[in-house]
């Protein structure tokens, strides 16, 4: 084991045996998350990586457990975006050359729970799981066309889903904290499971003195 890995392992051991943080239970916090999302699996074949934003409000029930509600929004372009395609216009039967404009968006409203592990001082790593309703929206349009076309539309459906991941929170001052969070979302559609990763920077706000 190299010297560097020895130092990492030593630091982790120190975190394990160190006294628990002085952060008390019964704290409440609102957290804003900004980052990106990366579709994986079959969803990665139809959607490109994009951006995400989230807002959550939670409460720390015990020293190691917090729970709350969250709303997240993910947006990305489709993999056919900017592709040039010859289509047959249904009304006239004419061939029209179009440049596609595709977009996927997902909004989520759900509940979550965080389990804080190896918390020490201002640093609080945690594991997080959640469940909620996901609304998946697909829009198809044209950004350019050789002739008039009626191509364009929107499809949308709500699905149940779950999420799991981990994060790290660092208390800056008072009730304000900064952190990082990575989650894997699984959304259960009719014939497939929509999977996407989200990673983002978190900013938390809570009453001073938490």
């Amino acid at each position: 084991m190299s010297k560097r890995w020895m130092m990492v392992v030593s630091a982790l051991l120190l975190l394990c045996v160190a006294p628990q943080a002085v952060m008390a239970a019964a704290e409440s916090m609102v957290t804003v998350t900004l980052g990106n999302q990366a579709p994986t699996g079959t969803f990665g074949d139809v959607a490109d990586p994009g951006v995400m934003a989230g807002l959550s409000a939670g409460y720390r029930v015990t020293r190691w457990l917090a729970t709350g509600v969250d709303f997240s929004y993910f947006s990305s372009r489709g993999t056919h975006n900017e592709d040039v395609v010859d289509i047959v216009e249904p009304g006239t039967g004419r061939i029209v050359t179009v440049t596609l404009a595709e977009r996927w968006s997902v909004s989520e409203l759900g509940l979550y729970a965080k389990a804080f592990v190896f918390e020490r001082g201002r640093l609080a790593p945690y594991l997080r799981v959640g469940a909620g309703t996901y609304s998946i929206r697909y829009s198809q349009d044209v950004s350019a066309a050789s002739a008039a076309t009626t191509l364009g539309g929107v499809e949308q459906a709500s699905k149940p889903g779950v999420s799991a991941g981990a994060g790290l929170r660092y208390r800056v001052v008072g009730g304000t904290s900064l952190g990082f969070e990575a989650l894997l979302h699984r959304i259960y559609a009719r014939d497939t499971v929509v999977r996407l990763w989200t990673t983002g920077v978190t900013v938390g706000f809570g009453p001073t003195g938490n």
């Binding site: 079959t42 489709g78 759900g110 539309g153 499809e155």
Partner: protein, 229 residues
């Protein structure tokens, strides 16, 4: 239209939450004295009945609904609860459309003065939908989410009378012989998730003039009676 609805929903939720969280002028000085019924550990059991309607073009007429539920205050002024409702959304002749939401919700409660308890919050759950005597009956569950707000006033010891307003967003069912809706033969989102994997071309799923919103809004305004303990 869908974006407009989303904007309205967000604005309404913000106003409702602000209204519930804020203490009006006439209640100044009483904010530190939330009643015992808003304290952590308090439990509420509610029954309610009233008006229910689908919002949108060519939708069924609004009719009646009822429900019951339970709330527990997990923090002072914050409750977590579960509700079940039964809503007859409308009738066309003998055909009927029914929605049965089973939901969980988080509400922020407040107190204005000495006798008004407003609240606002959000919820989500499974919405059972049923159309019958239509010639093409259908039923099934779909996820839904909602914002809700309302208020209570004490009418007896441990008894509150209130008004509950909620606006839920759920998937719009396909058209059938009795009720309007999107064309059921169109490529749906579940199909698009798989069929768009292929290369671009004339054979890929294409949406032509398919701009109708695929979600709809369910409104309900109900009288509520709550027992606190």
């Amino acid at each position: 239209m869908n974006g407009y609805r989303m904007t309205c929903t967000a604005a309404l939720m913000a106003v409702a939450l602000a209204g519930a969280a804020a203490v009006p002028v006439f209640a100044a000085g009483s904010s530190d004295a939330a009643g015992d019924i808003l304290k952590r550990g308090s439990q509420w059991m509610s029954v309610r009945a009233g008006y229910a309607k689908v919002v949108g073009d060519n939708t069924t007429s609004g009719l009646v609904g009822g429900g019951f539920g339970y709330r527990r205050f997990v923090l002072d002024r914050w409750s977590f609860g579960g509700f079940a409702h039964y809503e007859l959304l409308g009738r066309f002749g003998g055909a009927a459309e029914i929605e049965v939401p089973f939901t969980l919700e988080v509400m922020r409660h407040s107190r204005w003065g000495t006798a008004v308890y407003p609240y606002a919050g959000i919820g989500a759950g499974a919405f059972y939908h049923k159309r019958y005597r239509t010639g093409a009956d259908e039923s099934g569950f779909t996820p839904g989410r909602y914002v809700a707000f309302g208020m209570h006033v004490p009418v007896r010891k441990q008894g509150l009378l209130g008004l509950d307003v909620r606006m839920a967003t759920v998937d719009k069912p396909d058209a059938n012989p009795a009720f309007p809706g999107p064309d059921g033969d169109r490529p749906k989102l579940d199909d698009l998730l798989l069929d768009l994997e292929g290369p671009s071309g004339p054979l890929m799923p294409l949406l032509f003039a398919d701009t109708e919103a695929k979600t709809r809004t369910l409104w309900s305004v109900k009288l509520d009676y709550t027992i606190t303990y």
